[in-house]
């Protein structure tokens, strides 16, 4: 029986391809390429809320280099991205998926469902719940736990950078862990049972199974999640906005994306520096592109895309 490919001539095939691809391409064009282009153009102006195209060309970028806050905000961003990535998005995600894979199936699934809750809760509701839990009264949730264990209550949102960062990383991490968890769980479940059985027959403990069988086979998902979540964390700012708004002190927990938002949209007296904010965002796009290229090369992600060497 001839395969489908032989029945249709090339131009018909091309038009089918086009019909299937065009909608997604249109979406990408409208909602990704056009905004990036507009942001780039706006970054070359000193546009404010009068929406006038007053060209300053590279003026905003020069301003950025002299901005006294950009070094601190850059280091904040790197701290935020890499801590959340290692501790939660990859670390906790991996931990949850491995543990829930090795216990009773139903219980494991229930735990994973619970871990999905932060991600599906509307961000404002989620942030409000955290704000409620970290109030400084000894009777608030976390302080109550601390005092029950004999510790002093902590003033989580007073100026204390290590504590403030702990809060921010936790707030974002609890959401971020679920993405890795889903990918890693799927990867774990696709490991052929035979490998596990063979290892167990050879006398491997659970830890050895994890370390020598499962983790090596999860190399690709781990690298993929790392790359994807790095970019995702680079541009995330909404939980930081809702919980500390970059504070509590002077840009204590301010990250690059949030700084761009603040400069563009968040001025009390009504002025907003859309041009400067756009320039800050453009830098973020550039950093994202550079990181993508680095990950592509270092993780050799191209190999994920090659044709399988098995004939079908």
């Amino acid at each position: 029986m001839p395969t489908l490919g032989f029945r249709y001539n090339t131009s018909r095939r091309k038009s089918y391809l086009a019909a299937f691809l065009v909608p997604s391409l249109a979406v990408i064009f409208m909602f990704f390429l056009v905004p990036v282009l507009l942001t780039l153009l706006i970054s070359l102006t000193k546009m404010r809320f009068s929406f006038r195209w007053e060209w300053v060309y590279l003026g905003n970028y020069v301003k950025m280099m002299h901005d006294r806050w950009t070094p601190k905000i850059l280091s904040n961003t790197l701290l935020y991205v890499f801590s959340t990535l290692t501790l939660f998005n990859v670390g906790t995600g991996l931990l949850i998926s491995i543990i829930t894979n090795h216990i009773n199936e139903k219980v494991g699934a229930a735990f994973r469902a619970i871990w999905l809750l932060p991600r599906i809760t509307p961000s404002t509701v989620y942030a409000l719940m955290w704000l409620w839990a970290i109030r400084e009264e000894p009777s608030a949730l976390f302080n109550w736990i601390l005092t029950s264990l004999g510790f002093e209550p902590i003033k989580w949102l007073w100026y204390n950078p290590p504590i403030n960062w702990l809060v921010i990383i936790a707030v974002n991490g609890f959401v971020g862990a679920s993405f890795g968890m889903i990918i890693f769980t799927a990867a774990l479940k696709s490991i052929p049972e035979d490998y596990i059985r063979a290892a167990k027959v050879d006398g491997a403990s659970t830890w050895q199974v994890v370390r020598h069988v499962e983790l090596p086979l999860m190399k690709w998902p781990i690298m993929f999640v790392t790359a994807y979540q790095t970019l995702s964390l680079l541009t995330s700012y909404e939980y930081i906005l809702l919980v500390t708004d970059g504070g509590p002190g002077l840009y204590t927990t301010e990250v690059w994306a949030l700084y761009s938002y603040h400069r563009a949209f968040s001025q009390y007296a009504g002025g907003g520096e859309l041009g400067y904010g756009a320039a800050l965002s453009t830098i973020l796009v550039i950093i994202g592109l550079i990181m993508s290229v680095i990950y592509w090369k270092v993780f050799r992600l191209e190999e994920l895309m090659v044709e399988p060497k098995i004939e079908d």
């Binding site: 006038r52 002299h66 006294r68 949102l157 100026y159 002190g249 949209f265 009390y268 007296a269 009504g270």
Partner: protein
């Protein structure tokens, strides 16, 4: 039978079509004027309501005159949780989309920006038409707030004073006599009770456990805390040179005062997290429940507290006093700050050809009796000299008692770059309160940041 049914159905149908056409003798033309206003405090609803009242009056005149034209107001009044930032952004985006309202209420500090961007129209010629009947009566200092580069761009809507509220019951517990408590506002007015005296009394109250906080102030960016800088003799604006001012000594002392109040000699008077953005938890409740001794607030707060049910009128008069913001040190003057709100007419109103009618409505609303609806309901102050004769206004004891404060008032600058000055000051004071910067470091930061942001629009004086 069938024929009768069909005929009667057709007749019914025809009848209903005829009836649905209104039989009107003549066409009435309705002109719609759109108005946007904001509180964000709920009692300020008369900022919009007054337009309905004025339009109603106008329509009555038109009806009596037999004119076939009526005015209709389509208005918006925004209240908390909507804040000024969202309101202004909404306006800018609407303007960009060609859907700006005809009349736009905003703070006077926007006059510079709106005028230079061509979003509002100058009103000098319009005001001339009604000067002798209405506008001559506007308190003359208020015109300064609506001027930019020599032209008038808006009509004042209201003003207020920002008093220092204090709990009389706490002072009684501290051992103050009734005479001493009643005399406090005058002492402040004479400059005999300074900001450091305030810290002393507040610290005593906190140490004795009578209150949890010595002083509460606004919980987000704004202009109230500038009064401490003004109290130390600082200036914000030089009208001759048209520049914003940085008074070095005043800022040094102000930042030191804040530091002393939070971390220094008077530690515990101001709470480090005071800029929490939570109005209820950190502002309204502490002062109305007697958990704070002093409150740097506004006259409208009295109306807000009573409307929200936090205090009754009786409780307010028994337990809360109000005075000017004290001078920083002996030899300086006490102050208050006014932030007049203004009605502007957008250039899109002119394009639509309704600018004259919009101005007519604004003129009708700028009336001592109609404006007093707003002033009394929301505890804002008079904009017209004859308003103090309005029976409602003059009978309100609070408005009568705060009227003297207007002698000591100042405005913030109208300059388009005021937003930068305001933001940098807010950040710095917040950094001092949270403990991130000490007074000297904060001063350096403030000076450097303002110089960088404003360049030669900043005048630095000793």
């Amino acid at each position: 039978m069938r024929k009768i049914l069909v005929v009667s159905l057709v007749a019914l149908l025809a009848l209903s079509i005829i009836i649905s056409f209104p039989i009107s003798a003549e066409e009435v033309k309705t002109i719609t004027i759109t108005v946007w206003t904001i509180g964000p405090d709920p009692p300020s609803e008369y900022r919009l309501e007054n337009f309905y009242i004025a339009a109603d009056m106008l329509n009555k005149y038109l009806e009596i005159l037999g004119a076939n034209i009526r005015v209709k107001i389509e208005g918006e009044f925004f209240v908390r949780p909507v804040e000024w930032e969202e309101y202004k952004k909404k306006f800018y985006l609407a303007y960009e989309a060609g859907k700006a309202p005809d009349i736009y209420l905003t703070g006077h500090e926007d006059v510079g920006f709106l005028a230079e961007e061509g979003m509002i129209i100058p009103l000098d010629e319009y005001i001339k038409k009604f000067w002798n009947t209405t506008y001559y009566d506007v308190i003359s200092t208020l015109w300064e707030a609506v001027k930019h580069k020599g032209r008038i761009w808006a009509v004042p809507q209201d003003t207020e004073a920002r008093p220092l509220y204090f709990r009389k019951d706490v002072l009684r517990e501290l051992g103050w006599s009734e005479e001493e408590i009643e005399a406090l506002p005058e002492k402040i007015e004479r400059g005999e009770f300074t900001l450091y005296d305030l810290l002393k009394v507040a610290k005593e109250a906190v140490d004795k456990g009578l209150v949890k906080r010595g002083l509460v102030h606004r919980v987000k960016e704004g202009w109230d805390y500038l009064q401490f800088y003004l109290g130390f003799g600082g200036r914000l604006w030089d009208p001759e040179e048209g520049k914003m001012v940085f008074s070095q000594e005043a800022w040094k002392k102000t930042l030191k005062w804040f530091y002393d109040a939070v971390w220094g000699e008077y530690k515990g008077v101001i709470w480090p997290g005071q800029f929490s953005k939570d109005w209820d938890k950190d502002f309204h409740l502490p002062i109305t429940k007697g958990e704070a001794l002093f409150c740097s607030g506004g006259t409208w707060h009295k109306a807000e507290w009573i409307k929200k049910g936090l205090l009754t009128e009786e409780e307010f008069w028994n337990n809360i006093g109000f005075a000017l913001h004290p001078a920083g040190e002996p030899g300086k003057k006490p102050v208050t700050l006014s932030h007049p709100l203004i009605y502007t007419i957008t250039s899109q109103a002119k394009e639509r050809g309704v600018d004259e009618i919009a101005f007519l409505l604004i003129t009708l609303v700028t009336d001592p009796h109609i404006n007093s609806y707003h002033a009394v309901a929301s505890a804002h102050l008079a904009i017209l000299n004859s308003q103090i004769l309005d029976s409602r206004y003059v009978q309100d004891p609070f408005l009568r008692d705060v009227a003297y404060m207007l002698k000591y008032t100042t405005f913030i600058p109208n300059h388009p770059k005021w937003a930068d000055y305001s933001r940098i000051v807010f950040e710095t004071i917040r950094a001092v309160e949270t403990g991130e910067l000490g007074p000297e470091a904060a001063y350096e930061h403030l000076l450097e940041s303002l110089k960088e942001a404003l360049g030669d629009i900043l005048k630095i004086e000793p």
